[in-house]
């Protein structure tokens, strides 16, 4: 089973971010970068499938030099090799154009299954995985919490509002991950040492069969701002829990008008 995992490097979620001086980006200096949490589920699932089905797990990403660290993390978890498209022109892509670049890389690789995070927790786009499937003309199933493979077919449990739906697809297919799919493993020291010897192939757009003009962004960030700052509110005190709650319920009804 040849498995491809799409990954992205993102700022660590525990960070408080600052907007850059141009007002159109977040400051990227002194930021701790990590493998996108939803992509960790993807790598983990790929490794579990590989354990029973055999084959190779290839990580594919678009990013700057530094993004190799995210690939190394996936390799340390146990993936076999990585491909990084590192090209200034690729870094200016919007989500749709990034998907075109990824699809072009995958087109030249053998694959039976592609797994991607449901979204990257930086631009929260929910786009790239699904769009890659469309460009490769294969089906996609998003928000998967469970899968079973047999006879060249896959059965996936996809989360929907209030429950799950079970969908069957022939391979190849692209899945996106949902929290609950698995518990990603920690990297071990031997894993990290082994990962250093694994190959990351670096590609530029010139190495791909892709027309640069098709990558022109259709979405443009005009500005960024912080969400409205919340005023620290009122601590409600009372002689007893009973009286504090009475006051809380009263203000929620009369002042905030939410109950």
């Amino acid at each position: 089973m040849e498995i491809i995992v799409l990954i992205k490097q993102v700022p660590a979620t525990e960070l408080i971010l600052s907007i850059a001086e141009d007002g159109k980006n977040v400051k990227k200096e002194d930021v701790k970068w990590v493998l996108n949490p939803y992509d960790e589920f993807a790598v983990e699932e790929a490794l579990r499938i590989q354990k029973t089905e055999g084959g190779t797990v290839t990580l594919v990403s678009v990013g700057p030099d530094k993004a190799q660290e995210a690939i190394r993390h996936g390799l340390a978890m146990g993936a076999d090799k990585g491909v990084l498209v590192n090209d200034p022109k690729a870094l200016d892509c919007d989500g749709l154009a990034t998907a075109k670049v990824l699809a072009s890389v995958i087109d030249s690789l053998p694959y039976d299954l592609i797994i991607a995070g449901q979204r990257a927790v930086d631009d929260d786009n929910y786009l790239v995985g699904t769009a890659v499937a469309e460009f490769l003309d294969i089906p996609n199933i998003s928000l998967v919490i469970k899968q079973e493979i047999s006879d060249n077919k896959i059965k996936c449990h996809r989360t929907i509002e209030g429950g799950t739906v079970v969908i069957e697809s022939p391979l190849p297919v692209l899945l996106t991950t949902q929290r609950g799919l698995n518990e990603p493993r920690y990297t071990s020291m031997p894993g990290i040492m082994k990962a250093k010897k694994k190959k990351i192939e670096i590609k530029s757009l010139d190495d791909l069969d892709i027309d640069d003009s098709s990558l022109a962004p259709k979405t443009k960030i005009l500005s960024m701002e912080y969400p409205p700052e919340r005023q620290g509110g009122r601590l409600i005190e009372g002689d007893s829990p009973e009286s504090a709650v009475a006051e809380l319920v009263k203000v929620l009804r009369e002042e905030a008008k939410v109950i």
Binding site: T13, E14, L15, L17, I19, Y38, L96, A99, V121, D124, Y126, L127, T130, E134, F135, P139, N140, I141, S142, L143, I145, T159, I160, E161, G162, G163, V165, V166, I167, E168, S169, R179, P217, K218, T219, K220, I221, L222, S223, M224, E225, P227, R230, Q231, G232, G233, R234, L235, I236, E237, P241, A244, V245, L248, V249, V251, L252, A256, V258, I259
Partner: protein, 327 residues
Amino acid sequence: MSENILVIAEQSGGVFRKAAFEAISEGKRLAEALEAEVTVLVMGSDDCFSKIDDISSILGKYGADRIIAASGQALGEYMTDAFTNAAARIIEKENPGIVLMAGSTQGKDLAARLSARCDAAYAMDCTALEIKDAQLIATRPIYGGKVIAKVMLEGTLKIAVTRPNAMMAEEFPAQGAVEETKVDDVGATRLIFVEKNLDTDKVELTEADVVVSGGRGMESSDYAAVEELADALGGAVGASRSAVDEGWRPHADQVGQTGKVVSPSLYIACGISGAVQHLAGMSSSKVIVAINKDPDAPIFKVADYGIVGDLLEILPIVTDKVKKLAG
């Protein structure tokens, strides 16, 4: 920019999502700025349509000038390929400038696939949309809500997905003229529906008007006190990452940057200290209440109202008083 607006309104078993009405009335607001029409596309099986009482008045109420009722056997349950094929065909025929839909699990999936199919500009989870200098500008939270971006969508077709609960479902009475169309052949499909398992009593977290969340301060998997308060308020139960990591609550309940982002009218955080990731996922709630025994918990810095104290003592009293209000 004279271009019409197509809103894809999601129904399941003949019942429309509240978020679909939000998307239609947002479409109507944009259409007024553009002096354009709003066409609402509803996809479903004959069985779904037979359960909808009066589609014209249900959708016309929120601003649907025209309604395309597309029925087909393959459109009973949402499957990405059948719905993308059907929607893409109707988009091609209708040639709208803007396509809107609500960011449910279906809307997110369909919008992404459609945007790739139609090579359309795409903006997910928009909290506001406006037309400025004849351009469509979307406001959307990114980095889990730590930053709000204004994004311009360019090109002949633009797909914008509205975040549930972020926009008002306002009444904009419109004609709601219904055109029925048969979709007998949805083209090549590979996905097969096997089964669906729903907990129908559950209020959907991202669409709930009230969310009551519990964190590490709950101290165990016994969430009865939180569930009872959520029930009394007709709301949904959420959880912090620590509560999910402890195995106290299912993954689907996690609120935060790496879980679900919610913006209810009322968010009650019970025993949640307020990690950056959690705050990112709920700080767009209209009113936040925090109940926590630690007076220094960061959650109090964002809460409109706070009570310092023991959850298991306080929550039942809140539930009791809320029930009394409801009579």
